[in-house]
């Protein structure tokens, strides 16, 4: 399922806060009540509620309907989209870096017999 751009934007915004990321990390271990989530952060209940609302709006968590208990739970679909995108970017550049490494090794092999790097190719030699 593709998100609309606004949804993804909201997701990024929601992730852009260490407390909210810590809440998500806690929820990755299982459901928790608002009180349980507030505890480690030294936050007031209204304070934690504000964060939870943002996470809910971003589709990152849902809150149960049962009165009193109302546990929060992690919704993984939205995180998956962000994770997919970031992972793909990382993968592309890691592959490129690996190949740059190979190219550099080849170049150094070619140049080693002369003992010096190749000063041509039009770059200024600033050493």
């Amino acid at each position: 399922m593709r998100q609309t751009q606004d949804e993804l934007s909201t997701t990024f915004q929601a992730l852009a806060d260490p407390t909210r990321r810590a809440i998500l990390a806690r929820l990755a271990q299982g459901e928790a009540t608002v009180g349980e989530l507030a505890e480690p952060f030294d936050l007031s209940l209204p304070g934690i509620s504000k964060h939870l609302k943002m996470l809910q709006r971003a589709g990152l968590i849902t809150q149960g309907r049962k009165a009193q208990w109302r546990p929060c739970r992690l919704e993984t679909d939205r995180l998956k989209d962000v994770s997919d995108w970031v992972g793909r970017y990382r993968h592309i550049w890691e592959e490129r870096f690996d190949r740059i490494d190979e190219v550099l090794r080849d170049l150094q092999k070619e140049e080693r017999p002369n003992g010096h790097s190749d000063p041509n190719r039009g770059e200024p030699h600033d050493s």
Binding site: V82, R88, R121
Partner: protein
């Protein structure tokens, strides 16, 4: 060897960085020599055909990636800043999403004879980012809690 990835979520800017065991001039050359560029820009299963590669401020570049089945992807842009052997800034567009411009900045930093290469991609809008996601490679890896945890650790 892994690279460092950092994400600026507010600005949708992604940064990858790695130290290469080679002098800065050589890493810069690998990045700016069209023949060498074609060897690493990948993905590996595509052949890179460098049509234009004018590494000067205002100079255009255009690369066609050809898959084994003949399918092609066209990428192009303009070099904005060229400071050998320190920095290259170039715009990046993918033909099906022409007009959605990304800006790639590559910084080459001397680290005791080695070179730290830092590449930053600036997306101008979420829509551009989404376009790249959709045009990107199919994701082979199945999602797992590990990966979500890893994401939470990086963002």
């Amino acid at each position: 060897m892994t690279a460092d990835l950092t994400i600026d979520r507010e600005t949708l800017q992604l940064t990858m960085s790695r130290v290469f065991d080679a002098p800065r001039e050589l890493v810069f050359k690998a990045y700016t020599d069209p023949e060498l560029f074609a060897r690493w820009w990948g993905p590996a299963r595509y052949e890179n055909i460098v049509e234009k590669f004018d590494v000067r401020p205002g100079g255009e570049w255009r690369v066609i990636q050809r898959a084994a089945d003949g399918g092609t992807h066209v990428f192009y842009g303009v070099h904005r800043e060229v400071v050998p052997p320190e920095r290259i800034v170039a715009t990046f567009e993918y033909e099906p999403f022409a007009g959605h411009v990304m800006v790639n900045t590559a910084d080459f930093e001397d680290v005791e004879g080695k070179t730290r290469l830092t590449v930053t991609t600036q997306y101008s809008s979420i829509e551009d980012l989404e376009g790249m996601v959709q045009s990107g490679m199919e994701s082979g890896a199945r999602e797992s809690w590990d990966r979500l945890a890893a994401l939470l650790a990086t963002v």
